[in-house]
Amino acid sequence: MKTAPRTALRRYSRHLLIPEVGLEGQNRLLAARILVVGAGGLGSPVLQYLAAAGVGRIGIVDDDEVDETNLQRQVVYADDDVGRSKAVAAADRLRAMNPSVAVDAFPLRFDATNARELVRAYDVVVDGTDNFGSRYLINDACRLEGKPDVFGSIFRFDGQISVFAADGPCYRCLFPEAPPEGAVPTCAEGGVLGVLAGMVGTWQANEALKLVLGIGSPLVGRLALLDALQARVREFDVLRDSMCALCGDHPAISDVAPEPPRGTVAPRSDVPEIAAAQLDTFLDEHPQARVLDVREPHEAVLGTLPRTLAVPASVFEERLHELDSATPYVVACRVGAKSRWAAQRLWDAGFRRVHHLEGGLLAYAANAAAFDVF
């Protein structure tokens, strides 16, 4: 076991003073290997607290680059990291924080081709990803490799935290089925309170450190729900599901799934797409056409196209009767998820002149200097 030189122990003195940690616990941390998948809002606090705690080896998997909109919550990055690889920039930051930590930067997509190999090299895995496909993949790889999966997930003001370990249920026992695409907005679509990522991420870091130290009661078999708006935490018991496809009595899954990841459902779409670059031409050629903007009013403070009819997705059902199936509509929202649902809803209601703006108004704004959305 890797142990701290006596001179380095001063750094961890506040850990050594806790009876539950002490020198033995600190030496466990120094010898531990933790993999963090996703270096975003959740990964940022997780990575920093693990490095500060002296975890011996930390792996960071993220194929994304730092974007300006990340900085509101992804506190491991500084302003001048924008455009850099997240895995590389976060690794640099951790090495600066604590040079004794070995940091492995993996600037690649965590997918079925590498999931088990990556997970196998570490003792504990922390899930800081932002999509259901990756969450099922982490869960499956962890269970198949016998590693605990420290799960955290956020949306707006709501956080979910649990630990999926060999002696308890897995993510598939808790949520056997992912929601249809578009039914649950992502942070990019629906927004997220920046500090909630910190609250949930630090909770995950705490669970990961407890697993290494072998102290306390891990959040196994329990789902914690954090409501940051009401300042409430609730806990629900989760039992192992004997019908679980992964860890049930007759499992159907024996290996990680190739792309597309299990648990995601391809959106059903009959509606023709219009590329953002073709929108102006389409509107010129169809003088009767209207842009049907399904953003919520608070999202639509910037960037309204001419000939727009605003029908927010939240009241779409009630206002469906206001729409005319003879009018060509181009259904649009910010990134194209809510609008795809709304366009399909119109199609199902018999509208055959409906089109969908691919990539949403963000994609349109990328090529239109005078048009801006956020």
Partner: protein, 85 residues
């Protein structure tokens, strides 16, 4: 005829947004199940149906199958998956 049972419903995340409120008290016929409580709410907020197969239901703090029978005074929680990070 037996009296209706009263059930307190707690909604979280996307389900709370679609319902427009965090707590609800439902009157259900005797013999109603956890799934019946969901159905009663989905009738008031149709967009909930898109989340029917992914949302888990808890009864008095424990996640259960939809067929679990309800009793007067039970608390039902609607727990949709949350994906962001």
């Amino acid at each position: 005829m037996a009296a209706n049972i009263s059930v307190r419903v707690l909604a979280f995340a996307r389900v709370r947004e679609l319902l427009g409120c965090a707590e609800w008290t439902l009157q259900l016929p005797p013999g109603a199940t956890v799934a019946d409580a969901w159905e009663a709410l989905a009738e008031r907020a149709e967009p909930l149906r898109a989340l029917a197969s992914s949302t888990r239901l808890a009864q008095n703090g424990r996640i259960v199958d939809g067929g679990a029978p309800l009793h007067d005074g039970d608390e039902v929680a609607l727990l949709p998956p949350v994906g962001g990070g």
